[in-house]
Symmetry: C2
Subunit: 558 residues, 2 copies
Amino acid sequence: MPAIIQYTTRGLEFNTGKLAWFSVVLMILREMPVAQGVWPMPQMMTQSSEAYLLNPQEFTFQYAKDSVVQPGCSVLDIAFKRYFTLIFPAYSGGNAKGDPFTVVLNVGSGGCDGYPDEDSKENYSLLVSAGNGVLTADTVWGALRGLETFSQLVYQDDYDVYCVNKTVILDFPRFPFRGILLDTSRHFLSVHAIMKTLDAMAYSKFNVFHWHIVDDPSFPYQSYSFPDLSDKGAFHRFTHVYTQTDIRRVISHARLRGIRVLPEFDSPGHTQSWGKGQPGLLTPCYRGTVPSGTFGPVNPTVSASYQFMARLLEEISAVFPDSYVHLGGDEVDFSCWKSNPDVRDFMEKMGFGADFTKLEAFYMENILKIAVALNKTTVLWQDVFDYHENIPMETVLHIWKGTPAQYRDEMSRMTEAGYRVLLAAPWYINHISYGQDWRNAYTVQPLNFTGTEEQKKLVIGGEVCMWGEYVDATNLMPRLWPRASAAAERLWSNEEQTFNVTEAYPRLAEFRCRLVRRGIRAEPLFVGHCDEVPPCLQPSRSMLSRVPERKPFASFCA
Amino acid sequence: MPAIIQYTTRGLEFNTGKLAWFSVVLMILREMPVAQGVWPMPQMMTQSSEAYLLNPQEFTFQYAKDSVVQPGCSVLDIAFKRYFTLIFPAYSGGNAKGDPFTVVLNVGSGGCDGYPDEDSKENYSLLVSAGNGVLTADTVWGALRGLETFSQLVYQDDYDVYCVNKTVILDFPRFPFRGILLDTSRHFLSVHAIMKTLDAMAYSKFNVFHWHIVDDPSFPYQSYSFPDLSDKGAFHRFTHVYTQTDIRRVISHARLRGIRVLPEFDSPGHTQSWGKGQPGLLTPCYRGTVPSGTFGPVNPTVSASYQFMARLLEEISAVFPDSYVHLGGDEVDFSCWKSNPDVRDFMEKMGFGADFTKLEAFYMENILKIAVALNKTTVLWQDVFDYHENIPMETVLHIWKGTPAQYRDEMSRMTEAGYRVLLAAPWYINHISYGQDWRNAYTVQPLNFTGTEEQKKLVIGGEVCMWGEYVDATNLMPRLWPRASAAAERLWSNEEQTFNVTEAYPRLAEFRCRLVRRGIRAEPLFVGHCDEVPPCLQPSRSMLSRVPERKPFASFCA
């Protein structure tokens, strides 16, 4: 679908048209703050210089009469309060200038008390004209996206006057899965830090929080079936755990923002911390003929391991409402299995020879059966596909390794085999480097691999991974934002309209300032400062006609 | 001088001695928090396992009767209050366990209302025994260093009991100049962010805040002689400037922590923002025979430039009490000078031929004369030495460029010529990379260059530079800390005792946790968490004798 984005096309006219005039305009614009805009860029957006002043005292959200969803809808009732504060941050209840304005919501289906899931539609349309905005969406989750967009259209001048321009937006996400992974095992992250991340995710229209909750270093998930797991495997059994209440709070906070919570319980590797509270679960490693005292991956040769996993996954399935569960399967080190005589006996008995990938596949098959029985869709790291042929077709495969050439090749092979895939490899955002490395995240082309149109449709989205080796609450936010927002635009917007980093720079710089104003410690892209917002003048006809040069930056009050 | 650091030498015994026993001890220690210690490591330190419980209600700082400094000493009176809170962070005035304890200060000279400067001695000794600590220092600045050390010796258990071990420390800095550069031109930093940095600097015993206050992007220094400089050259004339009051607050906050404030007004390059408020100062660039409308470095061919600089530097000299002033002189681009016919005429008249370094030298010579007349010691970036032979011998040269081989060669040549040097090149800490890059800052050997003992004595210290291209208040603290602390130990401590990164790791990790407890957003070194502090048991003789294995970690209560 073609985009009608006024300021983009006008900008192109400048470049190719009258250069001298362009210089004059540039001179003017340098004195003006950068363009306001919506991030990630909507699929279709038209704005005019016609602006309306908003009076916070006479600003309301309303449900349309024919909306399926009406007052009492928890998700939206709460969102109205949240977005009122985001739209009018400086409003403290005093007298305010501006005119009455109503945002009317028309939502085509219910589900106010449910959870967003893989099939949730997020499309919406937004029409802003004199005195009102009309936000239409198929679902409450789409309505949330539209509210976020509306909040980004409103700006404020130095005199506390808020305004919004005449706007038409038709919008929908490019991919249904737009995730962020936080790793709460390598460093514990407080519920507060997680909820702050969820807030920021909503601002960039991310919709999946992939909670890599446990791993080798610590097991902070407080299980009611196996309390010893966190009692003995967490960094601290009281201060560094997620209680069931904590988890409900996170899931609820996410739900209210249209964000799914995808828990990961990675096995059989990455489970060192599990062994502390579940003796017998891990494989004892041997030095020669005697146990060395160290442990390897989950022991795949004893039925107790599967009984434990079944009970744990049953609990997880009940605690986390999402239809997906991530079961890991990556980076299994065979050296411990090889050292253990009982494992070697089992290999022989099963006819696996010396091929430990067969043992690994045997384990994963059993685990996947448990997940299927629990009616969950499993996500697995790519390793399982790489060594195993009999993965259930419903499984989602998660690509995390390699160069662009390598992960593209992997995408081709996985989709050719008919699997749905999720791309994380180019978005390991914990890897930092000096300079504007948001560009790396921005210029990824997730569908640039060899395959048919049908294969491309199997790419359900992408994920920004913030692994925790060097990250805790002290540095999480500036490392994540706004670099993750660069990936967010790639996953939401039309790639053809948003691939130029030079055009993206001022928009992302402005969005980053918006994050800062909203209390997110998003780091700067480069030299500069957060501009004061432009003056919001009364948009009389005569004024508009006097300053036509400013129209390209249509989201300013003229 | 030999160091007597009990836990270090004991640790070595473990490594070379009974390995089996070592494993057992390691098993125990893994269950225990890491060693507490002092960062940067004192020159000489002995601790015993004898521990004393401190009762905040009966804890006092006192001046010794024969101390030259007595109550009313602003720097120390205020430091007592500050360190009381740092030592007893959880104390809220209620009943507390422990015994009376007095820290007695004996300071050998006055200067309580003065400023630290290049010759200020910072040596101190600290003896902690039953019921008291004796802190002896030549100056109040040394006393501040000793108070910081004492504060790092005290620890607290889960039951709010504070304790300190019997300790003997003799300490002094390896280098007199241990600086941190903040760049407030590429991004503005609030006075709050600067003061928070000064707080953290004191915790690592840094003693110079190099304030790179202005540069090309913005001029936030609000000059009373030339108010247009910030009115027109700051990012915002009201919100993004340092008023004279702001500057006094920064200097005062620094003084109370024994930190010098070294202002930098870099010229003739890096002055784009100056030109906005001082028309005629910068060289007009030409395209062919007509001015292009852009400007280059300060115009060195007109006397007005020197008159302006003289008046500005006169103001700066009065505003900043330190005897040093940094006048930059780096990265002068000749292309604009070359393009300007008036500059070319001047070159010819002066007999400089086509050698623009001579013009540059001419400019710097005039500027240095102004500084000499103002009785200031000038610091210059190395570029000036590289192109100019007649630099006054009192000048301090600041090395910022090149590989280790290159900066070592530069140090040899500068010190051979008899200049004092300051090393920054290996500590451009704004350059980030993935992983434990604190090790790079730690393993610098500032005196590892070819030269005589006399030459080595000319190295006055080093500086950690946090250039501001990608840094503002959102990410400053975690980028600076604890990576800068790694450099701090190199600049304060004995290199032979502190060169092993493996030994430094647990100490720095613990110090980083201390920074976090003190409210500094210092990022983690690697996987893990901030340990709960160890239980502070009543140190009865019988208990001490029962657990001799713990002695190596002498700063625990046994």
